[in-house]
Symmetry: C2
Subunit: 387 residues, 2 copies
């Protein structure tokens, strides 16, 4: 185990029927005016908008609304949100949605006090020094944004989808009511599960040593996600499976898998971000395609851990070395395909002619990854193999 | 999964050579005067006293000292600490030690502002409404007090060893440098491991349903603790094993095993507390004796989970039902014995004539347990079987 610092101050209220507590919680924290951020309408279909606004009204919390946040959220929308928050003199930003909405809310909260362009936070030209308090009601599990300090945003004009982390971006409170996810399309549920598994494997395969304690934890999480997502897809109304999947998604990327590791590899996320900056691809779908290809490309750097993965997660026996490692990777790929996630980049409309530019874009900030540093040529090969 | 709330605001700095950061951390938080609480001298032998005071001096933090906290810490010592903290006008309480020192520091911090008798917090006559900031440097892993909001104290005159929890009692910061545990006697290391395993099993066997995600996590933690404590006892200088054991001990009782459960059974802890109130028994040793006996007494309430425990933690196959459940309990007992932990109450000097009074004392606040409510007669039987 490497030395580490750990803290996660986010408060979680979890379970069926808990959204009604939102207004009271804001009120107890002294919040009187909030900016309510949401997406493209699912909050109306799943009843979350109604529950949230009823709770705010009952507690006497005023709110302005920023609807229309898209998947792969964009800088322009966040800037509009910052303007609105300032005009309205919002005292908090309240996300009602999935990762895109949470990430947008976080950057709005950080941008409120910052006179410059919030893209500066992503380029490193400026650091986040304060943020409005962030609250959230989660409507789709996957990104883990409800309990972490990270945000990813797309700058459309430059095709940059970049991420950042700041201790000021932990939500103060997130409410996770898994029952509102009962109406999610199967595809979104599957994409969420792929995102969760990728978050875990970014840490699992970062070349760390002496982290058996973390490997046990991560293997248990992945087995849970695999079991429960299959149950949820079979019966979307299975609350208990949905609840376990939701909590696994939060744990998968709330910092709890990081202690003692090298901090995660993140090459797969980097490659997916470049992909999503070019094509309107769901993050989880892009990850499901790229992750197994990345695994095959790099596994020789740590065969032992890839063997362990095959044994502990998929129960593969009677193989060893490269064969065992590859069998685990193949099993993961098959699992993603069994969830009806796309298998190849060309299936989701990616043009082979764009791969070169996507690779350029992916390494703009330098080579990707920790287990193996991926230069432009490596990334291009992975894209080609994934195509 | 049941609905739950989760938060844990404690910040952790973990790893070799991290104690030197203590003074700077207090200074950054604006602390100028602290009460330094420690035990009966191990902090001199393991070098922690020297490291802590050097760091405080370097950062210009003044401190007063309260040495001499005993295992199974007592109310009178805490009261002396509160007096000293007030006289000294301490702005924080700093624990340097194990669970006893942390628990004492917590109640001193809470008592500082309370004009009455702090025992009121334990009887329920008063609630903790504020506390001085609590900092800590951990010297023995086991109780988890370094990252939770609980404290246990013994009122000597009434032979009451009672616990409490309050959100004001989370340490603001705990430093865990596993390398300072390299000089611990084997017995203390083993007792710490028994305490960790019991913390986990209090939640594991509380009769919860639909918590596969938590069971996976808890099983992984127990397997880790078992593997790593054996390594540590074989080679006390094995830093990596010591580090994994230390982090497992923190996770075992920092709230992370609780989500979705019924909140833990806690009958075993209740019975051990009454035992420790009568005899000067190490908490972990008492637990190692009582836990397997309790398991045999109650397993029929949830045979399925006891079967799962036997399979997942000890890899027992080819059995089922009661035989499988019992084989798991026997394996745990054998494991404790293999760590040279005591097997029976009579081995640690308990008089059979005291069992009745210990049972009276154990149920003073009402029956114990959740999986099965234990009345006086049940507790007496368990003590007798453990004797």
């Amino acid at each position: 185990m490497r030395n580490f610092n750990f803290v996660n101050p986010t408060r979680i209220i979890f379970g069926q029927g808990t959204i009604k507590r939102l207004g009271m919680e804001l009120s107890n924290d002294g919040i009187k005016r909030a900016l309510l951020v949401y997406g493209q309408g699912s909050v109306f279909r799943n009843g979350v908008y109604e529950q949230v606004t009823a709770s705010l009204n009952q507690a006497g919390i005023d709110f302005a609304e920023l609807p229309g946040v898209k998947p792969n959220p964009v800088l322009s929308k966040v800037k509009a949100g910052i303007e609105l928050a300032r005009e309205y003199k919002a005292e908090a930003v309240l996300a009602a949605g999935g990762g895109s909405v949470f990430d947008s809310a976080k950057i709005i909260a950080a941008g409120y006090h910052y006179p410059g362009d919030v893209w500066d936070f992503f380029t490193g030209a400026a650091r986040i020094k304060q943020a409005l308090p962030i609250y959230g009601v989660l409507t789709i599990s996957g990104t883990g944004s409800e309990m972490n300090c990270n945000a990813v945003l797309t700058r459309e004009d430059e095709r940059k989808k970049w991420g950042l982390g700041s201790r000021h971006l932990y939500p103060r409170l997130s409410i996770i009511d898994p029952s509102v996810q009962g109406t999610l399309p199967a595809q979104n549920t599957a994409e969420g599960a792929a995102d969760m598994i990728t978050h875990i494997l970014e840490y699992y395969f970062d070349g760390s040593t002496d982290i058996d304690i973390m490997r046990e934890y991560m293997e248990g999480l992945i087995r849970t996600i695999m079991q429960q997502v299959v149950k949820v897809l079979r019966d979307p109304a299975d609350y208990q499976a949905r609840a376990q999947l939701a909590w696994a998604g939060t744990l998968a990327f709330n910092g709890s898998t990081a202690p003692g590791t090298r901090g995660g590899d993140w090459a797969t996320h980097g490659m997916e971000h470049s992909l999503s900056a070019f094509y309107s691809v769901a993050h989880g779908a892009g990850l499901a395609i790229l992750l197994p290809v990345w695994m095959r490309y790099v596994y020789r750097n740590d065969v032992e851990t890839f063997e362990r993965f095959a044994e502990k997660v998929f129960g593969i026996k009677d193989l060893q070395g490269d064969s065992l490692a590859m069998a685990g990777i193949d099993a993961l790929k098959e699992f993603f395909v069994s969830l009806n996630l796309p298998a190849r980049l060309r299936e989701i409309g990616v043009e082979a002619a764009d791969l070169e530019a996507m690779a350029d874009n992916a390494v703009l900030k330098g080579p990707l990854g920790v287990l193996q540093k991926l230069e432009h040529e490596d990334v291009l090969k992975i894209y080609q193999q994934a195509w």
